[in-house]
Symmetry: D3
Subunit: 274 residues, 6 copies
């Protein structure tokens, strides 16, 4: 069992993807939870402050990932590719890299991973259907397919080795909604932090899949199956509704980015080389 | 795609049944949504004010319905018979009339209908069972059967022609609850307006069935399947609970108006001629 | 409780639509079940033989239907319109006529109806999905919508008055499959007779919905919910598979008659007058 | 139908287990509901005050239970054993005693029972799974098994004789949560009183199973199926979360009291006599 | 793990209720499975033949049950009361006795029990509804309630101690169907033996609930959830259908023995002393 | 739409993995379906006979896969790794290779793929639970995870581009069952051929998931959701049951290869390099 020294709950947390949008935000917010936060990214990030360790790491580098995980109590895995890209790019980071991570987690005896999955694993469900965590997967692109892989891989490591994972099917986590679709998919930063906190601190999570979304008026995702996490969003896209008034302009039935939940991801891929 | 001119979201909305209880109320409330609101009823109603057109129309008159729908962007269909009556009366208005309407909507290229269905399509479920939008229908009278017809007809026009409909299974929409049963079924006027607004402005609705009910303490109807509409009731029958104290008088098992959700509708029909 | 005189189980059965394809076939086969079989149709049919009564009757004629049902123990309702037609034609026979029938059944104290519904109440489900009796209705035309009405009306008469109905969602009941689609939807005459027998003789049926289909290799319809009827088809379209070889010609995704179960009904309607 | 005299809704309510933790609390709170509250326990309790009757009664004593129920309008059954004990002890009170109670209720013509069942009927579901009232039972001990018996027995008396029962699957009802697990299972006294009020005053309850739990952040139990009771908890364990901080100490996969919802009950039994 | 000596799969099987109808039949049929079959009953039964041990035993006698289970590899529990009786009688045998049995099974380290439960645990479902092993229980009498207890108790012993049980919800197991209802509920002796064989020999059964019914034309019970047992009935009540022709005599809606699956059990209890 | 020349239904079928166990068997059996069968494998296979083309191809070689698919009407994809191996090996063939295949299928305008998925995508369900095609995935190893990837990828290509895939979750397809577990998972060669035939010739399949298993007595997999394929297995492991008698040797609760469906795959991986 993971033990915290002194006053902080954890000794060392690993945050991957620490240079990304969510990683940068989380970097500040998770400090109170651990004596040391180890931060990794494939690119350079701001140098380590007090209580921080910075490690540049390509997840596709097996030995590097093994080194990265030394002495870690739990992993917040926000690394990898988070947009449509060529298959090789996504495979390198999100498939090979993820396997490296779980291999290392297993060998190191790490007990829990918070995995940034994505709502794009169900992006091909219509915007007129409410889905829960148990519906068959319908990814909306190669990126989404790679997250399906991640959910399956982490399920296996739980069933086989008892390594707990919370898969966060994150919607649109930005400071503010940027378009009308995000009035539905918005996950406020504060709510993401709270969701990560729940995922990290709940005494037992097994292999849990949960949608990462604020308390927005329109809901496509039903989180009942993850009520044992105790996540209660405090923010809502309601406050931003006026910026994207519905008008009388309905979606065209031929516009798949409006008909399916994935939105613009639907037409972003697949990206074939040359 | 429907386009609004100038500042209002829609150019012309058609409200049928404009002389009924709900129609009269909606007449005032929907003005901000359209340059012109066309109002129809089988009987005389208050003359047209600014931004209004008044058309007397029997829905059973095919040509009249065809004329009624000219230049219309969307239909709020609150017309027809809303109580138990002879079969012929209900058939004329709610079956023949509804077909006339959808035929016209199709021929006119109108894209969306808000259809006042009724909770009486499931009125024969017991008051001790919570139902959602997917349970098999159990109408509680001929009126309820005519609404089952309407839900099926509108589903067909969606599947075949892509005409979107939101079926509102309205509970009891009055200014205030009028009896103990309405503490459960109450839909405040404000909430009905909000529900119509959601149904009208949501960019895509497909064929959605939703219960029209305020946030009352006792719930028979589970609206999860329609969470994509973003309807959030703001009112509750809670405020009126004191008027109809439960006392110690339980319902008698032989009183079907208490045993089944439909209440007094259960014994109101069928009405046979002579 | 219905009582048979002498050796036959029922005294008088009413078969409506006795001049139609199924009616003509059933006329011969149901004789052993009743002392008297009353046969009705809107058009002339072969004159009554021994143990038969022939009554010409328009179901839209209320008084005629009332007369038709006198002295009847149970109704096999195969009358009405069974193809796409103008709405008025279908409404007259399948909606108004059906209500006349149930009004008469109620007033006469008749206890059971076998109702020829249709698989076209779910014809808009894809041919790649297996459906059961509890899925929400998706009719594939006005004819299908009229059958949705019939299922709802009969449910009401059961819930309200205890009149039992078995709704037969008949596929394609001909002597032999006539095209590739019917390899799936085929209901052999013998199997229809057996299904009607089960529906008529099972001691209690409540309001049961069952698909009428033989034991064909490909199945779109799951009859588990009606296993209490004891219907076991003995025939299969397998024997006719060679007539309609699949070849390498797959269905085109744009051909809705192949994508949805309803087949040619999907494009047969709606039929608008003039 | 039960009738109240004068101003109070009921004439006489029977509260069994009136000397237990919940009984003592309820004794004060239910006074406004009845002219007379009859209080029973197997041990001595505080003497009757105004509007109270105190009867010492062993539920295993058939004649005593028959006497206990005379003149009673409704029963709040909180008596019996509420912890793991030897099988004989539990059987005497919770099985034999409960049958005595329902036999008496039936013979006396009493119409409704509020039955203190327990969340321990599902205590063997994992803490990572959310369950509703319809999941198959998985009791976590002999006590839980005895409550399964009670739910089945009361169901039978409803189906057979129409005696209504609300089974309250109570979590942890104390003044305050006493450990981290109770942050999930906590039912505040006020909320218990409100739940009992709903169960007692709802005009019709049939045989309803509901979880007794406050509005805590973490939820294992989904109460949708009992929404017809109108129970809305006002309290939450949230206020006590700081007392039991999660720390970084996750549950060990081998610790069944953490892996399953029943917690310490899981290892408390069965208790075999020497 | 249980080991057979020589050629027979088990060394010693215990058959309780060996003097009952099913016990007497099974006594002969299970001989090939064990070197020794220990036979018990509360009353005298035929003396032990070769490979048999006969023990008279009241299941309510704790020490006797402990002795009875010595050296046993698996238990076929067909003992106890199998009809409606006074509560005390049923409790003594089916509740207290069953607990004695599981206590002994646990203490002796016996790994598997085949438990004769009963279809009467769901006897209050209507004869027009098909149920599976996961529906909430609706017992049709005190006997049925005692079998609900048994299913819950055995579930607990599996969850807590890993003792495997197959609960057989037996229909009507006689040599032949004795009335029209048994055309539905009939379980031929050969099929019962085969079901017991599957339950006993399947390498792993966990806690399985299965209906014990032959391949009859009419089915109320859906055994899909127990397909892992591999039970394939070879007999059918079909062969006996002519003895109980349906005639035209439908069940009366007021006759609960026809409306609900439990049949005559529905009105057989509860039996109150004096 | 694919068109056959002359008498054979297809012009050219591509069979990948033609040198594997199933590929070698299929090579002979699929000849009647196409003028030309193109056979590929990563290793040398028997030279092309009449109506055959043999192409050696590493699926991880993008250009080679593009060339391989030229002029192909449909793909039977049995290539890739079919046992536990190092992650890199599996990724190269089953993930990168599969993407190459779908990229080529898309670019070539090929309409349908028969994909050899595996029952190991659900191998971590217990052997006491029956699962259907819609349960959440629980792979039992890296091989199983790679098949989860394949099911997700093919779903995406269907949703996005309409490329139809039938995913065959094949059990154990050998000439005969080789151990007791295969009495459950056995798929006879003839049945596999028939299943492939159904998958290939059914006019429309969308994205269908089906279990590939013969009509064995014990069933873990419920194929109802794929009944539209018309697959009817003709063989059964029943014929081989005597070779693997159950004896009295039950599975040990600690033996995960007996507790979960995946059997020996459960402990075969993951295989870490060095």
């Amino acid at each position: 069992m993971t033990q915290a020294t002194e006053s902080k709950p954890f000794h060392r947390l690993l945050l991957t993807g620490a240079g990304g949008g969510l990683g940068t935000m989380l970097r500040e917010r998770i400090k109170p939870w651990a004596d040391v936060v180890r931060l990794s990214d494939i690119k350079d990030i701001a140098p380590a402050g007090p209580g921080e360790e910075v490690v540049r790491c390509d997840l596709g580098d097996r030995a590097a990932v093994m080194a990265l995980t030394e002495g870690v109590d739990a992993v917040l895995h926000f690394g990898g590719v988070s947009v449509e890209a060529t298959f090789e790019t996504i495979m390198h980071a999100n498939i090979l890299g993820l396997h490296h991570l779980y291999e290392a987690v297993h060998k190191r005896g790490i007990k829990r991973v918070i995995y940034a999955s994505s709502s794009h694993v169900v992006g091909y469900y219509p915007t007129t259907q409410v889905v829960d965590a148990n519906v068959p997967l319908r990814p909306d692109g190669i990126y989404g397919v790679s997250k399906c892989f991640g959910e399956a891989l982490s399920r296996y490591y739980f069933d086989r080795f008892g390594i707990e994972t919370v898969c966060l099917r994150i919607g649109s986590s930005f400071g503010e909604p940027r378009n009308a679709r995000m009035l539905v998919t918005f996950l406020a930063y504060d709510d993401l932090v709270e969701l990560v906190r729940c995922a990290l601190f709940t005494p037992r999570v097994g292999h849990t899949i949960t949608y990462g979304v604020s308390d927005n008026p329109v809901r496509w995702w039903d989180n009942r199956a993850a009520a044992h996490l105790g996540f209660e969003p405090r923010h809502s896209a309601r406050a931003f509704a006026d910026r994207f008034p519905a008008g009388g302009a309905w979606s065209d039935a031929g516009d798949i980015t409006a008909v399916y939940q994935g939105g613009p991801f639907l037409t972003a891929g697949p990206i074939y080389e040359d």
